[in-house]
């Protein structure tokens, strides 16, 4: 099986709400694909459709070229974390994984492996009902990893994790992708994906707004702007303006310059004898890029495809 997720033209209506409106994208192996959008954008519904839990009104979702329901031992093909709270409180962590393992022809040894992998070894025989949100999240990850699947779908996996857990999760996601797996991670917070995702599928109102690499997205949002750190902002502004740049004031003693590349800015400032301490390419955060994108969605629609 080629580890991909292909989503084509999904449409689904819940009563009067159009939850999915032609959702189309592909998740490729070897990278972490961030699946972002505001709450209600259709991320969870798309994931449930991919996993065969919800039926779309139109369109289809294939994993390695087959619908989920057609997969033999599905947990060995696709690992999913949807709702970490979905646990029988009276069952121990190990027993929760054990029935899943048995359903896929796996045994207790594999269960113990994944419990160690997610750091739940010491509490394996405790009832899941007493677990914190973070522990449940780790148990959910363990369930997703149980079948050693080439495709992973994780819905808000960082939810409830402490800072240490967040770092661990990022490392885990990166290493899973590095092993050649296709990893789809949804989040409503772009910042969570800042150092994790290689690729982004940005959705809003049930459709894809942007399907792009993280680096390209940030570069596009930065629009070749340059930051200048100078103690003489008042002198720098007219000098740069005469050279044809648009200048905006940034925080503290910085200026954000657009319309001139960095070398020209340095040259113009030197020529004007304006002192400066730093000239650097302006980098928006992923979050800013995202806000840019969702704010002026029309400009970007279809840009990356």
């Amino acid at each position: 099986m080629h580890p991909t997720i292909e989503v084509t033209g999904l449409r689904k209506r819940f009563g009067r709400t159009l939850a999915l409106d032609g959702m189309t994208f592909t998740v490729r192996p070897g990278q972490v694909t961030g699946f972002v959008g505001p709450n209600g954008a259709g991320k969870s519904t798309t994931m449930r459709v991919i996993l065969g839990l919800d039926a779309p009104d139109e369109g289809r979702a294939l994993i390695g070229g087959r619908p989920y329901a057609g997969l033999r031992t599905p947990l060995r093909q696709v690992g999913a974390l949807l709702d970490a709270g979905a646990l029988q409180p009276g069952r121990t962590a190990r027993d929760h994984l054990l029935w899943l393992a048995h359903s896929q022809g796996l045994g207790g040894r594999r269960v113990d492996e994944v419990l160690e992998q997610v750091g739940l070894g010491p509490v394996a025989r405790r009832r899941a009902g007493g677990f914190s949100l973070g522990m449940r999240q780790r148990l959910g990850i363990a369930a997703a990893l149980l079948g050693d699947p080439p495709v992973l779908l994780l819905d808000e996996p960082v939810n409830g994790l402490d800072p240490e857990g967040i770092v661990w999760m990022r490392g885990l996601l990166r290493s899973l992708a590095a092993e050649g797996r296709a990893v789809l991670v949804s989040s409503h917070l772009m910042s969570e994906l800042q150092d994790t995702a290689d690729h982004l599928v940005v959705v809003g109102r049930g459709r894809v707004i942007a399907d792009t690499g993280v680096a390209e997205l940030i570069a596009a949002a930065s629009r070749g702007r340059v930051t200048v750190r100078t103690p003489a902002r008042a002198e720098a502004v007219p000098v740069l303006g005469r050279a044809g740049a648009a200048v905006a004031t940034g925080d503290g003693d910085t200026l954000v310059v657009s319309g001139l590349p960095a070398e020209r800015v340095v040259a113009v400032l030197n020529a004007g004898a304006v002192p400066f301490s730093e000239v650097a390419a302006y980098r928006v955060t992923l979050e800013q890029a995202y806000l840019d994108l969702t704010g002026g969605a029309a400009e970007y629609r279809g840009v990356a495809r």
């Binding site: 099986m1 449930r48 996993l51 065969g52 839990l53 919800d54 039926a55 989920y68 329901a69 997969l71 033999r72 031992t73 599905p74 947990l75 060995r76 093909q77 696709v78 999913a80 949807l82 709702d83 709270g85 979905a86 646990l87 029988q88 409180p89 009276g90 069952r91 121990t92 027993d95 929760h96 054990l98 029935w99 899943l100 048995h102 359903s103 896929q104 022809g105 369930a143 050693d148 699947p149 080439p150 092993e179 050649g180 797996r181």
Partner: protein
């Protein structure tokens, strides 16, 4: 990345997963264990508290005699007046019955004054008989006239074959004949003594070479069932007797040992009379004695009692009363086994592991059914065996039943619990709410049984409940069947179900299958 292990989602994996799910929730295991314990404890304590004794000579309490059993192992009534002689080897008896009369005791009009009226009850019997001996319960075959069911050939208490219907009078007498050839006895009837019609044959394995052959009469008690004031019904049985007038009586074959020749000849010594199974009053006199009179080849025989399987008494399934309470516990576990998945959102995880939803739900139902059966079977068996022993040691005359029936009652009860579990699970999957599903399951299985077997409903309504609702499955517990040739109060309250055991069990099985199919459709048709 290493290659994927290949594998097929076998049904056995789904079964194993559901078994792991079931056994890893302590509350469910404990509840099922409690259900098993309830079956044993209720059965044993009710048996231990059930004492019986009979009045002996001088009114003293003595242990009741064990019930008389027939050749088939069932409890039987073997009480009749017999005029008989020996028959060695092959031979037969022919007699013409010219009248059948009787008396029935009705409720006293004047207190203390016996109110006897003339009449014959439907299953009063008079006719010819060959019997292994005069011991109660010994093998026999007989051709007889009955009060309202025409001529019959019966043998070994439970077997009954109809001859020609109609009555008997001096103007239209009935000729009866019974012939022995080895172990095979053949019955005939005739209207004129010339043209004979074969009614049937009976094979009495192990019939001794010398048997008793002769004429008999008996008459079962007159049963009246009245509607109780608070629902239910009250059954009362009153004394009756029947008299058969025979002539042209001939016995053929080896009667030489009696000192008579062809049997038509005399030898007063040859004919003997026995009031089989007659009750002796504490004073020593026979209660309702039978009698016979003879003149040449004419006989008048009067008897009271019956020759039939016994259907009243302590039944073998009595110690299984705990099954009903256990059923409620089983229902709770069965419902929770599926509704917990909805309550905690686990259903999605379950469907991710087994996306073919129908198979996944079937696996769940099958595991639950098998586990319920396995958990309750030893408990039911223990209650049956231990409870039965306690009942007998406490003086109760437990109606004996064949081993195959015992196995059916025990295994059937466990199967009923298993089917009820599957039905409850299906209701849980349909309703997705514990409380609603538990109530629904109790209402369709437990409540109808309680209503039908306690004095709440009229018999007719009770029977319909036990035909139409899943409670019909309790029929599998009935160890003593209802016999058409025995008039008794075959009502649910007396432990008699309107459907035969397996047909009864098929009703909850059908409901479980239907509910499960509906649950599969619902699960398939909706987003999880």
């Amino acid at each position: 990345m290493r290659p994927l292990p290949s594998g097929r989602a076998g049904f056995h994996r789904l079964l194993r997963a559901e078994w792991t799910k079931l056994r890893t929730v302590r509350g469910w295991v404990a509840t099922l264990a409690t259900a098993a314990l309830v079956v044993v404890l209720l059965g044993v304590t009710s048996a231990a508290g059930s004492h019986a004794s009979c009045a002996g000579a001088g009114g003293a309490e003595v242990a009741c005699p064990p019930p008389v059993t027939g050749p088939g192992g069932q409890a039987v009534t073997d009480k009749f007046f017999f005029v008989h002689r020996a028959l060695t080897g092959d031979g037969g008896i022919t007699a013409r019955l010219t009248s059948m009369t009787g008396r029935i005791r009705k409720p006293d009009v004047t207190p203390g004054e016996r109110n006897l009226v003339a009449g014959v009850v439907p299953w009063a019997k008079a006719g010819v008989m060959i019997k292994a001996g005069t011991g109660q319960g010994s093998a026999y075959a007989a051709v007889m006239m009955t009060g309202r069911h025409g001529v019959r050939m019966q043998h070994d208490f439970v077997h009954d074959r109809a001859g020609r219907p109609g009555g008997v009078s001096p103007r239209s007498p009935r000729w009866l004949r019974l012939a022995r050839s080895g172990d095979t006895l053949t019955g005939y009837e005739s209207a004129d003594g010339a043209t004979w019609t074969r009614i049937g044959t009976a094979t009495l394995a192990g019939l001794p070479r010398t048997v008793r052959i002769g004429l008999f009469a008996t008459s079962p008690g007159d049963l009246t069932v009245t509607q109780g004031d608070l629902g239910g019904s009250v059954a009362a049985e009153r004394f009756t007797e029947a008299t058969g007038e025979f002539d042209h009586v001939t016995v053929s074959g080896g009667t030489a040992g009696d000192g008579t020749g062809d049997g038509t000849g005399d030898g007063v010594r040859a004919w003997r009379e026995d009031d089989l199974g007659a009750t002796v009053d504490p004073g020593g006199s026979v209660h309702h004695p039978g009698r016979a009179a003879r003149s040449g080849d004419s006989f008048s025989v009067t008897g009271a009692g019956d020759i039939a399987p016994a259907v009243e008494g302590t039944t073998a399934e009595r110690p299984l009363s705990g099954a009903l309470a256990a059923l409620v516990l089983v229902i709770v576990v069965a419902v929770r086994f599926v509704t917990a998945e909805y309550r905690y959102g686990l259903i999605r995880t379950t469907l991710l592991a087994g996306p073919r939803r129908g198979r996944t739900l079937l696996a769940k139902a099958l595991v639950l059914g098998l586990v319920t059966f396995a958990a309750t079977l030893p408990a039911v068996a223990a209650a049956f065996v231990v409870g039965g022993r306690l009942l007998r040691s406490n003086g109760n005359a437990v109606l004996p039943v064949p081993l195959s029936t015992q196995v059916r009652v025990v295994a059937g009860t466990a199967a009923l619990l298993a089917l009820a579990a599957v039905l409850a699970l299906a209701l849980g999957a349909l309703l997705r709410r514990s409380v609603a599903a538990v109530i629904a399951a109790v209402v369709v299985i437990v409540v109808p049984h309680v209503l039908a077997t306690t004095s709440v409903l009229p018999d007719g309504a009770a029977r319909w409940l036990l035909r139409l609702t899943p409670a019909a499955g309790f029929a599998v517990q009935q160890s003593v069947p209802a016999y058409p040739q025995v008039v008794a109060h075959y009502a649910p309250i007396a432990g008699f179900y309107p459907l035969p055991p397996w047909a009864g069990l098929a009703v909850p099985a059908g409901y479980a299958a239907l509910a499960l199919a509906a649950a599969v459709l619902r699960l398939r048709g909706t987003d999880a």
